[in-house]
């Protein structure tokens, strides 16, 4: 899933100076699962905003809504009849949803209510960790299904570096060394000899380095 974190309200408030109505807009997908921008967080932020506006003596209408997905025009269309009642939208969707909402309603000010962090998964309740950076050319087959792009601090394809210590990365004791994991996995698979195969220079043109990316599937296009 896409993992996000809530922005502090202090960062959001200056954007809402002078607005008379604001819609806090959640998303029912990833940000719900990572507890950053689902219905619950929409309620929390809306209440907090109402309190601040009341303290400031401002009358601001704070609406709440959570869409099935903000990255899908079909669901965004559900706002068509109600959005004009608001001066601004604070979207708690990931960066994709925020932009899609803004694209769909070009005359509306749309602000981010979360920081979108990475593609990852929950290690346990309340702990999420990065697993993939969408490099466009997956090489997990070579690395025992542990991603060096997303999980090695130096994205080494032929690691580990000299800083790997007791399974931890040189950048800090709370970060796992991806290469320790890769070697453990290769060992578990009986493939440790594969470690000595040099992974060739990567084609980064399929990564963000190649410019904004698009996937076009002629066979499913309508």
């Amino acid at each position: 899933m896409i993992v996000a974190e809530r922005k502090p309200i202090e960062e959001i408030l200056p954007w809402l100076e002078g607005v008379r109505s604001v819609l806090v807009l959640g998303c029912n997908e990833c940000v719900t699962v990572c507890e950053a921008g689902g219905k619950k967080e929409v309620g929390l932020l809306a209440s907090a905003l109402r309190m601040v506006f009341a303290q400031q003596g401002r009358e601001v209408n704070v609406g709440e809504r959570t869409l099935e997905r903000q990255c899908d025009p079909e669901y965004l269309d559900e706002l068509r009849d109600s959005i004009d009642a608001y001066d601004a939208v604070v979207s708690l969707a990931c960066g994709v949803g925020i932009q899609f909402t803004a694209e769909r309603y070009p005359s509306k000010a749309v602000y981010p209510g979360v920081n979108t962090c990475f593609m990852g998964a929950a290690l346990e309740r309340g702990v999420w960790a990065e697993r993939c950076q969408g490099c466009g050319q997956c090489l997990l087959a070579l690395t025992g299904a542990v991603c060096p792009v997303a999980r090695c601090a130096k994205r080494l394809f032929n690691g580990p570096c000299g800083g790997s210590t007791a399974g931890k990365c040189e950048i800090g004791p709370d970060v796992e060394c991806a290469w320790q994991r890769i070697i453990d996995r290769l060992k578990a698979l009986g493939r440790l000899a594969d470690y000595e195969t040099l992974i060739p220079v990567k084609d980064w043109s399929k990564d963000r380095a190649g410019g904004p990316r698009k996937v076009v599937r002629e066979d499913v296009r309508s």
Binding site: F157, N158, C161, L198
Partner: protein
């Protein structure tokens, strides 16, 4: 073995001499005089001088300019190059820049993560890793081609090196990792500084078992300790460093004003032990901001005078 490059370091190693290299860190400003003086002080006691590349991710004068300076002084620089800060275009371009001044040695490194430095908020590059940089330099030199495939006019004639850390984890791949670097093109290896000689010997045993010492020249790294505090810091704070407790104790066991001398003595003893380890082809003395002591270390370790080569 015939030398493949005009590198003096390569000639000395191929002639079977124990080589001695050292290193200098460039200044945090544009006054290169201090670096020139440090290098001058060790001129007659080392065969080549590594110039670090923004080590520990602290921004400094570039390794390339400093190497050029040493070259113009008639010294033999080893251009250290990390893949943290430059993509494949910049790396190859700098290699050509160095080659245009006839800098004949390069050490390919990944580089410390920028988190350790003075620009922790910076982006990192890591377009290639250190092994891929080794392959790139060898391709440029041996095939006369850029990574992209185009031919290079007057390819770089560089003796290609890599670092190895016998003490890092995971232990079981320390020797395979060296094999991999050699397969990628490393012709000489400079190791992490050695305080735990026994562990280094075990690693060298593994290296010899695979005949790797015959495929690349292994220069054992040493760093003299200046104080018990430095020993403790290296032991506890530097990732991938193995300073045994007895070394810390020995440093702490002498009065503060004599700890530096004790550090030099330990360094010399270590060199003497390392001279006996089969497969060791030379030494890399990293005296961090203590270059003035290098001549004495070299002499007392019985490594002077340095051989002359054509």
């Amino acid at each position: 073995m015939n030398a493949k490059t005009p590198s003096r370091l390569e000639k000395i190693l191929r002639a079977g001499h124990l080589a001695v290299t050292s290193e200098c860190g460039p200044p945090r400003g544009s006054d290169i005089g201090h670096l020139a003086a440090k290098a001058e002080a060790i001129r007659r006691h080392v065969d080549a001088i590594n110039v670090t590349d923004n080590q520990t991710s602290v921004c400094r004068l570039c390794s390339l300019a400093a190497c050029i300076r040493l070259k113009l002084m008639g010294l033999e620089p080893v251009l250290q190059m990390v893949v943290r800060d430059r993509n494949r275009i910049a790396l190859q371009s700098d290699i050509l820049g160095a080659a245009s001044f006839d800098i004949h040695n390069i050490l390919c490194l990944s580089g410390d993560h920028q988190r350790f430095g003075d620009h922790a908020q910076g982006q990192n590059v890591f377009d290639l890793d250190s092994m891929q940089l080794l392959q790139t330099v060898r391709r440029m030199r041996d095939e006369g081609r850029f990574l992209g495939g185009d031919p290079i006019e007057r390819p770089p004639a560089m003796f290609v090196g890599a670092a190895a850390n016998p003490f890092a984890d995971p232990f079981e791949i320390r020797v395979p990792r060296l094999a991999k670097k050699i397969a990628a093109g490393a012709e000489f290896i400079q190791t992490q500084c050695i305080y735990n000689v026994e562990r280094f010997e075990r690693w060298m045993q593994g290296v010899r078992d695979r005949g790797l010492h015959e495929k690349a020249f292994i220069l054992a790294g040493v760093t003299p300790l200046k104080s018990a505090g430095m020993a403790r810091y290296m032991k506890n704070k530097v990732p991938g460093m193995d300073v045994p407790e007895e070394v810390v104790k020995r440093m702490a066991g002498v009065p503060k004003d004599r700890q530096a001398e004790e550090g030099i003595a330990i360094c010399i003893e270590t060199l003497q032990r390392l001279k006996e380890v089969p497969g060791v082809a030379g030494f890399h003395i990293m005296a961090i901001e203590w270059e003035e002591r290098v001549p004495e270390i070299v002499e007392r370790a019985g490594l002077a005078p340095r051989p002359a080569v054509a």
